[in-house]
């Protein structure tokens, strides 16, 4: 299992918003959702990509071929070192579970001393569930959390959740039609997995990215509160303010960021709706 490979686009040390204590977060590349507001476009495609720092780019065109390819960028190293201004870097590295575990273990004492652990994030880590389980198996004594959209076959979801100490799950929109419109996928499997999670006696947190006018509405929050009010294993709901710099990384990947909601409008912080049904609710 330790030879199982995963496509990783970052390992962040000292993450403070991804579970209890000081944590290291493994970001896995690839996501089945296409949320209109995604601020991490590097995590969307399950393949190695070239990223351009536009402010450094001299426009020489040397790297255009790489950007046109839709397959794994197998020759990326060549482009990166050939770029005369150092404007290119690679997003995505194939790493074995062993390699990732060693990186995390280097700071195991510090992570444990500070009541933290490892968090799997993405992209959607469940797209690489075997890899997540393989890394987890190599770090049995460390607190492990997963940040997931919950969009995965239920048996797989259940298997990974069982191996974690904490599940941090996004519920973006409860209304099925709006969910399709803004994320590109149906939410039936997500809501089914939420029901499953509630029954699993596993500590959980629910996160909602607050997108102005899209899901910061009383309808959405009330519907969510109703779904959660009987969840005994729910620690809290975390409302995440929309990141106004969400579009910053798109151009560097040759992508376009376009949204139909008022980005600058401050989102409504309807924490009371949760508090009224006895759910702890924080705003991040």
């Amino acid at each position: 299992m330790s030879t199982t490979k995963g496509l990783v686009f970052d390992i962040e040390e000292f993450a403070v918003f991804d579970g209890p204590g000081i944590r290291s977060v493994v970001f896995l590349k690839g996501c089945p959702l296409r949320c209109a507001w995604c601020h991490n476009p590097e995590g969307l495609e399950h393949r190695i990509q070239l990223v351009k720092t536009l402010s450094l780019c001299a426009g020489c065109g040397l790297c255009d071929a790489a950007f046109r390819s839709s397959a794994d960028c197998t020759n990326c190293g060549h482009y990166v070192s050939a770029c005369p201004t150092g404007a290119l870097r690679i997003a995505g590295t194939w790493m074995s579970a062993q390699e990732v575990a060693v990186r995390i273990q280097r700071h195991e004492t510090l992570l444990r001393l500070n009541h933290g652990g490892i968090t799997f994030s993405g992209g959607e880590p469940l797209m690489q569930a075997d890899f997540v389980l393989a890394v987890r198996a190599l770090l049995p004594c460390l607190h492990a959390a997963i940040e997931t959209s919950g969009y995965a076959p239920s048996p797989l979801f259940q298997k990974v959740v069982a191996a974690m100490d904490l599940v941090i799950m996004d519920i973006k929109i409860v209304d099925p039609l709006l969910h399709v419109k803004y994320t590109g996928v149906q939410n039936d499997v997500i809501l089914k997995n939420l029901t499953l999670l509630k029954s699993m006696n596993k500590p959980m947190r629910i996160r909602v990215p607050l997108i102005p006018t899209v899901n910061d509405t009383p309808e959405n929050m009330t519907a969510l509160a109703a779904l959660l009010k009987d969840a005994k294993n729910l620690e809290k709901v975390e409302l995440m303010r929309y990141n106004q710099a969400a579009g910053a990384k798109y151009a560097g990947l040759g992508m376009l960021y376009q949204v139909d909601f008022p980005e600058k409008q401050p989102p409504r912080l309807l924490t009371e709706i949760f508090k009224e049904v006895g759910i702890l609710c924080d705003v991040l």
Binding site: E12, E13, V16, S81, P84, L110
Partner: protein
């Protein structure tokens, strides 16, 4: 209310204080006397802390050309004046100036008369008596400190540090609180007013850059018996600084393995303000290190910091903690260029680096004498033993030597070890050719060196090389004595030398290119953009630090978003505590966002208040020279 002297006044004063019949000490005393006599007394309604500097400039004690003649053949440190030491604030505030009157040299006595005369013009009975016989309460002690510190600046001594404020002020603070003279809120308000007074004249007290004025204040630590000395005043000072949000005084904190989280959290709230402080020093590493250098245990336990981060001792030391610097980055580079083809093993190359450090130490040591220091009769009064002019020396007369470009030095060695000695990627001559031609036509090699080669802070294989370099640097200065009988204290600081040494560096074995800035102090190279805070604190907390204990912190840049809520802020405090528990010596944390800095360069008018840590002090970003701004922007690229 500021004024310049008229031409007639300037001429008249110059004639008096440049009188060739007077000794330099007498001239300095007369200069202070006339300075204070010409000062205007400024009282503002409701203000309890006295003194404003109204004279923008004042003549020097040398006749035209005389200074150059006298200093010829000497080593002149910076301005040639006493600076960057810590006064015996504890003793002076307790006993008053008159207790020292009969001990002090004649010139020093005249400065006491001058300072008392100046203070008396404020017509504050408590102040006058505190200065003469010692303070009885907190307000008097603060007023007396203000006059003494103000007079030190007026006496042409600079980088006037504040020392262990919460220790020497505590008896007065506690007395007033216990006796009910002031409530806790009033004590806080008073402390805030006192802290604000450090900012009244500071624009006139420039060092290398605006903001580099040395007004560092130390909190926490232990007492003479080694017991925890954190007290209520420690917390009041942190709150006062937090509320003021001003650049001075610059807060430092002494911590150890037992320091409670509560204190770290309070300090992190201060870090969140983005002022670049507090800076932390680890007693568990620093005190044994100072004792190993020859300081008595009792004195070592009383350490504070100089203008930046050098560890200095109040009252008893005429140390010059920044007298010189060795460019570690250049030492390694020169050895590679000279000896790489001749060394069949990496150990051989490391031996050559060691030899290079010894020969650079020989040359630097020889250049530092005879030392020129102008007499400082008033600073003399403020020392524990005022019997001889402080410029002639004190109980400790040690010299600090910075080691600059530490990470760049280690990274060059790591790259050579891996690619030449382990992987035998190319012959040594090819390597040197690539460096001489600044990687022309070798962009892949350059890229590999910049991003793939082992880097200190990120990759563990660099750590043994770092340990050996630290030991070699320490050995190269061990056993040497300066002309005053003091020892040399090598350290991990760079001060402004990172700029001076940095611009001289060409293409290096770590992929550094000519003209690129290097990191300041004891921090990972600026070429590493993917070093995480956990890796950085683990890698930089080295046991060898106690051998290079002149001072020089690891600097971490944290993006300001990690201070967003109390939970996250507590985690930053946990990170700081972890570094201390791992055995790190000194840490300086910044809360800044790269976007803000870039915007400040374009729209300076919108960022007048933006304060950043430079190399050992905090300054207003928009007032810094461009080269300093650029270095700070580059180092934030590895903030999380």
């Amino acid at each position: 209310m500021r004024r310049s002297l008229s031409q007639a006044e300037w001429q008249d004063i110059s004639t008096k204080i440049q009188d060739p019949a007077l000794s330099l000490a007498d001239r300095a005393a007369l200069r202070l006397q006339l300075f204070l006599e010409h000062e205007t007394i400024v009282k503002k309604p409701g203000e309890r802390i006295p003194a404003y500097r109204t004279l923008v400039d004042f003549p020097d004690i040398y006749a035209p050309g005389e200074k150059e003649r006298l200093q010829k053949g000497h080593y002149v440190h910076e301005q040639g004046r006493v600076c960057n030491i810590s006064s015996d604030w504890e003793g002076v505030l307790k006993d008053g100036l008159m207790a020292r009157y009969n001990l002090a040299p004649e010139a020093s006595r005249r400065t006491i008369d001058a300072v008392l005369a100046y203070a008396d013009r404020y017509e504050m009975p408590g102040l006058s008596s505190a200065l003469r016989q010692g303070a009885r309460g907190y307000l008097e002690a603060l007023q007396a400190f203000r006059i003494l510190h103000f007079s030190l600046w007026a006496s042409n001594v600079y980088h006037n540090t504040v020392g262990r404020f919460d220790q020497y002020m505590y008896p007065y603070f506690k007395h007033d609180l216990d006796s009910g003279r002031f409530t806790e809120d009033e004590m806080l308000a008073l402390t805030e007013e006192f802290f604000r007074s450090f900012n009244r004249d500071s624009d006139l007290y420039t060092g290398m850059q605006q903001g580099d004025n040395g007004q560092s204040l130390m909190l926490g630590g232990c007492d003479r018996e080694g017991k925890n000395a954190v007290n209520e005043l420690t917390y009041v000072c942190l709150t006062a600084s937090l509320n003021n949000r001003l650049i001075d005084p610059k807060i430092n904190l002494r911590v150890n393995k037992d320091t409670p989280m509560e204190l770290y959290v309070r300090c992190t709230e201060l870090t969140k303000q983005g002022l670049g402080f507090p800076q932390y020093s680890n007693d568990d590493v620093v005190i044994p290190g100072l004792v190993a250098l020859g300081y008595s245990l009792e004195n070592a336990r009383n350490y504070t910091v100089a203008a930046c981060w050098e560890f200095i001792l109040p009252g008893v030391a005429m140390d010059i903690p920044n007298i010189g610097a060795v460019s570690l980055a250049d030492s390694v580079h020169q050895v590679i260029m000279r000896d790489l083809p001749n060394c069949n093993t990496f150990e051989c190359l490391q031996d050559k680096v060691r030899q290079e450090l010894f020969s650079r130490a020989d040359a630097l040591e020889a250049s530092l004498k005879p030392l020129w220091l102008e007499p400082a009769p008033f600073q003399t009064v403020l020392m524990s033993d005022p019997r001889q002019d402080i410029s002639l020396g004190a109980k400790y007369n040690n010299y600090g030597i910075h080691g600059t470009g530490f990470a760049t030095a280690v990274d060059q060695l790591s790259a050579v070890e891996r690619y030449i000695y382990q992987e035998q990627l190319m012959p040594a001559d090819d390597w040197l050719q690539a460096l001489s031609t600044e990687f022309s036509g070798r962009s892949e090699l350059k890229h590999t060196l910049r991003t793939q080669a082992p880097k200190l802070g990120r990759d563990t294989q660099s750590e043994t090389i770092a340990d050996r370099l630290m030991n070699d640097f320490a050995d190269s200065w061990a056993g040497r004595r300066n002309e005053r009988g003091g020892v040399f204290r090598p350290g991990t600081g760079s001060a402004m030398y990172y700029v001076w040494h940095g611009v001289k560096l060409g293409a290096l074995s770590d992929g550094h290119m000519p003209g690129e800035p290097i990191s300041a102090n004891f921090s990972p190279s600026l070429l590493v953009t993917d070093v995480g805070p956990l890796s950085a604190i683990s890698a930089m907390a080295r046991p060898q630090l106690s051998r290079v204990i002149n001072g020089g912190p690891l600097t971490l840049e944290l993006h300001d978003t990690v201070f967003k809520n109390k939970e996250a802020l507590t985690k930053v405090a946990m990170l700081v505590r972890s570094f201390i528990l791992l055995g790190g010596h000194q840490l300086q944390l910044n809360a800044v966002s790269r976007e803000t800095l870039l915007d400040a360069q374009v729209h300076p008018e919108a960022h007048r208040q933006l304060i950043v840590r430079v190399w050992g002090w905090s300054g207003h970003f928009i007032q810094l020279d461009k080269s300093y701004q650029e270095q700070i922007i580059q180092r934030t690229s590895y903030s999380i």
